[in-house]
């Protein structure tokens, strides 16, 4: 395998071979204009520029075009390489969950049902060992999402090269996360089931879920009234937390999967005029046209999944993106896998490309589409002038494991260190066994 770490290293940081992750420093601000030339540039919006050039300065992209002469810039020849926008995880718990099975390392779920005031950002741990492994596979931004309850709180978009969460914040509180109670029919003697036989309350679970959903509506109706009120005698923290929904600074991310639940999500959009995004959406292919009609975007939370039904097409989840694309729905592909800790985002997109999307459409589903859905489409998600220089240089096709090898990555123009815990342990044991 070719292993070309080419030498543009911009003075701010030098790769030393084996260093603990603790000495993998966040990069400092871009202080020199860089031009990446002679590469195949995958813009992220479907466009591909052969023999292209990307110039960025002070963290922003200034030029994207066929390779031409450029002055005042450090020119890096990327011949044979591919340039991509940094990938974006639309739904992640990185920094909130370090080791899922160890309770003390989990800061993901809060008690209570209606917690719109909870903010994931303040618990986001920039020093998670997971973060650097994501960057190594092309992921430069992530939406950090709180779990638990019905209104779980607000997510925030972070960039993955930071000293602390304030540095990491890319778009704070971009969305309120609503986990819709399930409207799937349940059967069985115990009125449904929880893990290991937890007793469910008696009565019709669907009705109970609809009641819970109604209570969320009531909350938003009251929040709206509060929002319209000129001044408040008493401040209501929860209502304050969702003001952004009414001003459209925030979106409502509705976690749901089946058709009835998604129809309820549309109902929220209609009643409140919110920007609604469906997270999950494993059945979204069933009502793609309705989603399009109502401008509902979808985050396919875990594309590498089994089909819902035994009777379903065996490759249904893999081809769901193609169905959404065809209907014109704005959608993002996500990787929510808890065993690989989300590092396979690019390959989830690759699978979608094997099952009906074009490669560039698949790329958009993990870059520009994701950026638009998360509310950062004006700043990132594609390689276009004026946007942040969140850029990957890849040895080959980013979406295929055969050629997914990130050679350089830039976040806001800063070249980040691609060392992670895994590479360090790799080096340590190559040393032990005398391997080259």
């Amino acid at each position: 395998m070719k292993r070309i770490f080419f030498t543009i290293l911009l003075g701010s940081w030098v790769v030393t071979n084996v260093s603990a992750q603790e000495t993998v420093y966040p990069a400092s601000a871009q202080n020199e204009t860089i031009a990446l030339t002679n590469a195949t540039v995958h813009v992220g919006n479907g466009q591909v520029i052969e023999n292209g050039m990307v110039v960025f300065s002070k963290g922003k992209i200034t030029e994207v075009k066929p390779t031409a002469a450029v002055s005042g810039a450090k020119v890096v020849d990327c011949k044979g390489k591919h340039i991509y926008p940094g990938l974006i995880l639309s739904q992640s718990n990185v920094g909130l969950v370090e080791v899922g099975s160890v309770r003390a390392t989990v800061d993901e779920n809060e008690l209570g049902e209606l917690n719109p005031n909870i903010r994931s950002l303040v618990a986001y741990n920039t020093d998670s060992k997971v973060t650097n492994t994501l960057r190594n596979n092309g992921i430069l931004l992530a939406n950090i999402v709180p779990g638990g309850g019905v209104l779980s709180g607000s997510s925030s978009v972070v960039q993955l090269d930071a000293w602390n969460w304030e540095d990491a914040a890319y778009l704070p509180d971009n969305a309120i996360q609503f986990r819709m109670p399930s409207l799937m029919l349940r059967g069985g003697g115990r009125g449904g089931f929880g893990r290991f036989g937890a007793q469910q309350p008696a009565g019709d679970p669907i009705k109970r879920a609809l009641d819970q959903i109604e209570s969320v509506k009531v909350f938003f109706r009251e929040a709206k009234a509060y929002y319209e009120e000129a001044s408040h005698e008493e401040t209501n923290t929860k209502y304050e937390a969702v003001k952004g929904l009414f001003t459209k600074k925030q979106k409502l991310f509705v976690h749901c999967n089946i058709v009835k639940e998604m129809l309820v999500a549309i109902d929220f959009a209609r009643e409140f005029g919110f920007d609604v995004v469906i997270v999950g959406g494993s059945e979204s292919f069933q009502i793609a046209d309705l989603l399009k009609q109502n401008n509902i975007a979808v985050i396919l939370e875990q594309m590498h999944s089994l089909p819902t039904m035994v009777d379903d097409d065996v490759d249904q989840p893999y081809k769901t993106p193609a169905a959404l694309q065809k209907a014109g729905v704005l959608f993002a592909i996500n990787d929510d896998d808890g065993n690989t800790r989300q590092r396979n985002l690019a390959f989830n997109a690759g699978t979608a490309a094997a099952y009906g999307l074009s490669k560039e459409e698949a790329l958009a589903a993990v870059s520009l589409n994701a950026a638009k859905i998360l509310g950062v489409g004006d700043k990132t998600g594609s390689i276009e002038a004026g946007k942040d220089a969140n850029i990957l240089v890849c040895d080959g096709d980013l979406l295929d494991m055969r050629s997914n090898l990130i050679l350089n990555a830039f976040i806001q123009g800063r070249e980040i260190n691609l060392t992670d815990k895994h590479k360090q342990l790799y080096e340590r044991y190559k040393y032990k066994y005398g391997l080259k």
């Binding site: 395998m1 080791v99 899922g100 492994t133 089994l306 009777d311 494991m401 055969r402 815990k421 066994y433």
Partner: protein, 1022 residues
Amino acid sequence: MRKRRLSPPGRALSLMGLLLALKVSTLAQSTFPVNGVADPKNGYYAFTNATIVKDAQTTLSNATLVIRDGKIVSVGANIAAPKDAVVVDCKGKFIYPSFIDAYSDYGITAPTRTFGGFNFNQPAQITSNQKGAFGWNQAIRADVEGAKLFNADEAKAKTLRDIGFGTVLTHQKDGIARGTGAVVTLANEKENLVLLKEKASAHYSLNKGVSTQSYPSSMMGVIALLRQSYIDAAWYKSNPAKEGTNLTLKAWNDNQSLPQILEANDKWNVLRADRVGDEFGVQYIIKAGGNEYQRIKEMAETKAAFILPLNYPTAMDVEDPNDIRFTGLDDMKHWELAPTNAGAFEKANITFCLTTSDLANVGDFFANLRKAIEYGLSETKALEALTKTPATLLGIADKTGSLDAGKLANFLVTSGPIFQEKTVVFQNWVQGRKYGVKEDGWNDVKGTYKLAANTATGAKSWAVELKDGGVASFVAGDTLTGKYTYDGKLVKLSFTEGRGPRATETVMSGVASGDVWNGAGRDGAGNKFTWTATLEKAAVAKADSVRPRQPLQLGKVTFPFLAYGTEEVAKQETILIKNATVWTSEKDGKLEGTDVLVIGGKINKIGKNLSAAGAKVIDGTGKHLTAGIIDEHSHIAAASINEGAQSVTSEVRISDNLNPEDINIYRQLSGGVTTSHILHGSANTIGGQTQLIKLRWGGSDEDLKFKGSDPFIKFALGENVKRSSSSANNRFPDSRMGVEQVLNDAFQRAKDYEAALKAKKPGVRRDLELDALVEIMNKKRFITMHSYVQSEITAALRVAEKFGFRINTLTHILEGYKVADKMKAHGVNASTFSDWWQYKMEVVDAIPYNAAIMTRVGLNVAINSDDAEMARRLNQEAGKIVKYGGVSEEEALKMVTINPAKMLHVDDKVGSIKVGKDADLVLWSNNPLSIYAVAEKTIVDGTLYFDREKDKELRAAIQAERTRLISKLAAAKRTPGAGGAPAGGFGRPRPRYEVIQACMDHLHSHGLLAITEEEAELLNEK
């Protein structure tokens, strides 16, 4: 006040009615004191002029049945009624032997469940809660005697009598061994008199019932416990001093001479149980569940007799398309075909009885039985299955089951042939005593009467015609339409004159005394009068009109009985794949533009420009051909995976509970998998015996097995076996220190056991658990060990070395890279994930370079799935090893082909493309390691089990069949009562949950309807 019972027809019978009302029995029990005066009865009766169905084969016309003292004296066509017998004229009526239910718990209380059993997060109950000199396991209840638990229950008896039953075999339906059953009649008498046979049967099941003990917690544990119990009981016969008295084993042995009845309740369970029976020389009578028609050939092969329930699935309400979306094709097909079950057994010539067991509403029995008849069961067989067959199986044919002299006077008097829809059961006689069922129709009062009334204004008369449905017409010049009722004794007549608010009603009531009825009445003006009606002409009885039946239009049984099943399973073919890039996984490497010829399930030739007459030719141009993917670590296709109740469960075997109807077999074929190693889970240190399978979609459980492969067993270390997820663990071990001791102790015990066996020491009990460990030490069984961190890996290697064997495979082995040199020295294989990490504490140091490092140190390395979803992409998981650590593409592919074949000892048969090897092949659309590679054709043993072209047809067929069934369900709901309408009404459709087995080690992305085995159990709980 003496309450008079209003009893039916005829003098003789009203006398009987009186006797009943006075609670006097024809049966007297000598030892009991009498409170009052002695009132001996002999119950001498003659039933004359009847059509007597002696048994399913013999029908006598115009015959007489004579009974006395609760037994049949004689039965025949030319018998005169004895003078001293009460004569009952049964002209026009039918007499049948009453039915026998061989699967009842009548009169025996079901024990109540206190929720217990194994739960991964809860403390374990290691020993039995049963106090006394009994056996060790709470679910082995051989000591239970149904006869001693029996209390006659008149309310329940009546329900059963009303549908024709006279005798039942009753037992306590709880536990894996359930003790003995008793034959009792349904007479309303003291238990002493109804108990016909105290110990008639011994009962078993594959369900632990209400036992709170942790073990067994799985289907394979149940089977292992059953097997070990046979062994223990045989051993106990030698009175081993160490055991003392064990009343359970004693009873077990005592019960062996009885008919052995096992409740299987499912087609695969039938086969599982039958195999246990074969091993121990027992032929079970098997209680079925209703889906056996789906594998009727295999049912016949068991040579067992069956007891079939007649409960059918509730029809799904199809009104909401969003709900029906989640209803399974298999569930709908079973709804349609369940009534064919009994007919399928008859057609396959299998002995069977019918039972009321499992019916939610016992009253549905006749309707459901008639449905079975409509769906293919003959009436003769139906009657036999309710009379002679159960009598014979239970060894009570000398007492009941047919109408012959000397047998019990257990019979039914009916209005017509028993299975016809309009036939009424009038009476059910049990042990010579009459129990009325629906007697008001005994006398047909329909006909023309002369009605004369004496009113204050003089005599009036009408010609009255009584018709079907309680309609009466009153003719006296005008014809008035009225109503009548007749309950066997009392009559009521009425008619209305005029219309609207001014209408007036004349009402009459009276008593029928044969052909003359007398009574009093009141006319519309309120005047009272008396009346007499005299029969002039009885109505001529019309034959039961046979509803013209629509020919049944039923779907076909498919193999498997699931979406993507087919009527015919795929067959072996001669196949020639032309001009592909062939990845041999051999030293030949990758061959461009090459042909591969498959004959007789084997790779016959590899070369250029091959041809073969009659071969199916597949164009491989631009495509890639590899050996079938081998998944070293899988949990698909099994009914249970974890027997987690104890730390050592080497006695359990995945092979005992394979499930060939797992859709994941097909899904994984679509990802190029052809061989899977089905492992026990990781809940305990020494888990269960594994099974290597080939993905032969549509075959039986036996067909799945990879024939001739070496036996393996799963072990596990670390967090799972010390139950780290539980805050209340009470099961040893609780630390990695303890895990090492569990290993040491188990092998030490096995070593001592082997020595004792070799020395032929008397009294050594054969122990299935230790047998497996002895096999390991003798290199006849091989370990796949779930392991993560370097400390536990090294410790396990050293234990094996101490006992003189080597561990075959370390699976997961995410810290293998840290001790690769030690592993190499030991000679162990490594089967790992490509890039999993940080999902639990013991994998925080897992790195994706692991496979590459281990390979470079010289280990044989495989990439496995341990996940039903990821198994579909194992080729790409191998592809990642190119990215992480830089192995060559060919080496990477070997990690899912020849390398796992080597570690599973089947590299002489599979894992590479080589002449003479099994033709397990995959044709890919692209480089097989690429994310863009899609398996187009997957071949196992020269049989094309997955073909993307065929798959398209199957998808269309699934949609068409779903549509047909949904329409049929909708039609059934629109026309309730018509043929095809279910007895049980409509229910909102339950989502078709998919039980997906997993080793409980990590997370999975299995889709919305995936549930665990435990959840499925809860779901199925009534």
